[in-house]
């Protein structure tokens, strides 16, 4: 058997690897690498958006507070809503018999 010599291996390997290399060598893909051509965002637009968002949140908070005051059902001085209703006279002028409810205690199920 004819032994393959080292220089032949070198030639074969050089031929193999050279055949694998792209030819011609591809150019740098600057189309992909180029910075974005999109117009830069205007400097003030982000600030403007934040101001609009802050105003919206403030509007919601004050709106909620104003509305909740308008529809308040719980009287002052620590009287619960149930007691408040119970103390109101009924259609015939008599007070209703409502059991006293203890505050902060869980009702039996």
């Amino acid at each position: 058997m004819n032994r393959v010599q080292q220089n032949e291996v070198d030639a074969v390997l050089t031929g193999f690897f050279k055949s694998q290399m792209p030819s011609p060598w591809p150019k740098a893909n600057l189309e992909l690498a180029a910075p974005s051509t999109r117009a830069p965002r205007a400097g003030g637009s982000l600030t403007h958006a934040r101001l609009v968002l802050a105003a919206s949140v403030l509007f919601l908070v004050f709106g909620f507070l104003g509305m909740s005051k308008h529809f308040q059902t719980e009287p002052q001085d620590g009287v619960t809503a149930v007691e408040h209703i119970a103390n109101k006279p009924g259609p015939n002028g008599a007070l209703r018999a409502v059991p006293k409810v203890q505050k902060n205690k869980e009702l039996p199920r």
Binding site: R3, L13, S19, A28, N29, A33
Partner: protein
Amino acid sequence: MKSRPKDPRPAEFEELYQRHSREVWALAYARWLNADIAQDIMQEAFLRFWKQLQIKDGEAIVNARAWLLRVARNLAEDYAKSAFRRNGTQAPQTMNALEGRDSGPLETMEKDEMFGQIRAELNELSPTDREILTLRYALEYDTAKIAEILDINATAVHMRLSRARQRLADRLTENGVRETP
């Protein structure tokens, strides 16, 4: 940390591409033995490199070559998990040992057979041995330069290279393959 260039120019990028793209390709090729995949990985590595340069507050790249080679290696490893590979799609070049050339059909067949055997033998080698062979024969780098790129001892490169060549010579002898003149 090294100071970042204010505005990386395409010309500088082009220069770095010309200087390092073949090395990046060689490492990617050594991993998969597929020229198309290697080219994709090379382009992706350079794209990431450019994007990294664009980041104003990002960490500066001190050694572009080391950065690119590391990214190329990582990308080549990640390629194993990609959908392209999972789906079992292979570039035509993997199926055929050699792309079409202007040689005659008989010569082409002989070369295809021989290159197919070389590919099979290269697949049996360790990734580092494949990297050494690719840098040596594709880029014609000497032992010292290969050692520098792979960050290993020059003696180790020499030994690995000799062993791989010997192994290939044995296998080619066993299979009765000789170089086509």
